[in-house]
Assembly symmetry: C2
Homo-oligomer: 171 residues x 2
């Protein structure tokens, strides 16, 4: 199963840090790629710097037309939105469906066509919160938590500690 995250509607001035958090969360929670429909090289550069040091083969891509991209995706398409069906209800069904997954997350304003173009509109709770939170919990539930044990084989590796910090870096 390959997991791709599509981040719609990144806004330059406002969203740099949030989009970076979305991308890092995608990577850390086992997605293979993030796709943006807005090109912001600051975001791409910071993600690629993390990949370079911490490993994992995660990719950042830009697309010109998100509609063409979504239509052309052959696996399961899931849009995370507070207006959708509660994750607790639909998760068992989604987990049974094998194959590639496209997870779509928007910012403040998502084009209304998205709702009709996907297989599932899923609410990680029907309350306003954060696309970063929604994405993380969805990916964690989808993979039953095993993504947190993934070995990224990076140059930097953390040795987990009960107290304090320990990082090993290959030179």
């Amino acid at each position: 199963m390959s997991i791709i995250v599509l981040r719609l509607g990144h806004r330059f001035a406002r969203d740099k840090r949030l989009s970076t958090h979305v991308a890092l969360t995608s990577r850390a929670f086992g997605a293979d790629k993030i796709v943006f429909d807005v090109q912001d090289s600051d975001v791409k550069d910071s993600i690629e710097a993390v990949c370079e040091s911490w490993g994992g083969g995660f990719q950042v891509e830009y697309i010109k037309n998100w509609k063409t991209f979504v239509k052309g995706f052959s696996g399961l398409k899931i849009h995370l939105t507070m207006y959708g069906l509660n994750l607790n209800g639909v998760l068992p069904e989604i987990r049974k469906l094998k194959g590639d997954k496209l997870i779509i997350i928007g910012g403040q304003k998502v084009p209304s066509e998205v709702y009709g173009m996907v297989d599932y509109n899923v609410a990680v709770g029907g309350q306003p919160h954060s696309e970063v939170a929604a994405l993380a919990v969805f990916l964690d539930r989808l993979q039953d938590g095993v993504e947190l044990d993934k070995d990224f084989k990076g140059r930097n590796r953390i040795i987990p500690q009960a107290r304090g910090k320990k990082v090993v870096s290959d030179e």
Copy 2:
């Protein structure tokens, strides 16, 4: 069990939106209160506007001295940090411990004393990602997902839909 989130080291210019996401995530994932050690009324105002419309009795508080606050907290203290013990390993132990929980999350730079002042330093994966993601997944795992079914009894309520949006508002 009451859950309090302590957000350390909010920075005015950079962190407004991220701190707002942290606070909204705390609320949506069942925490009772968020505590900041830096006073930013923009963040407080946006959270309180959400509480007013969407319900749930969530509180936002400022404290002057985080050390005094952490020392004085009588329940279980958990610091979320990528350097800690993997959530997958420590979760069963933490879930057995009843009573109030204090979840501490920092920004870029966390004072090193924090590591020694808590009962657990927990890594929601040992990879760089987002404090919003870490908090959401931790709260979701801690409560076994039931927080997503919470009835916030707000003036605004979403009626979950397979496609499209439906919000009911009491006037």
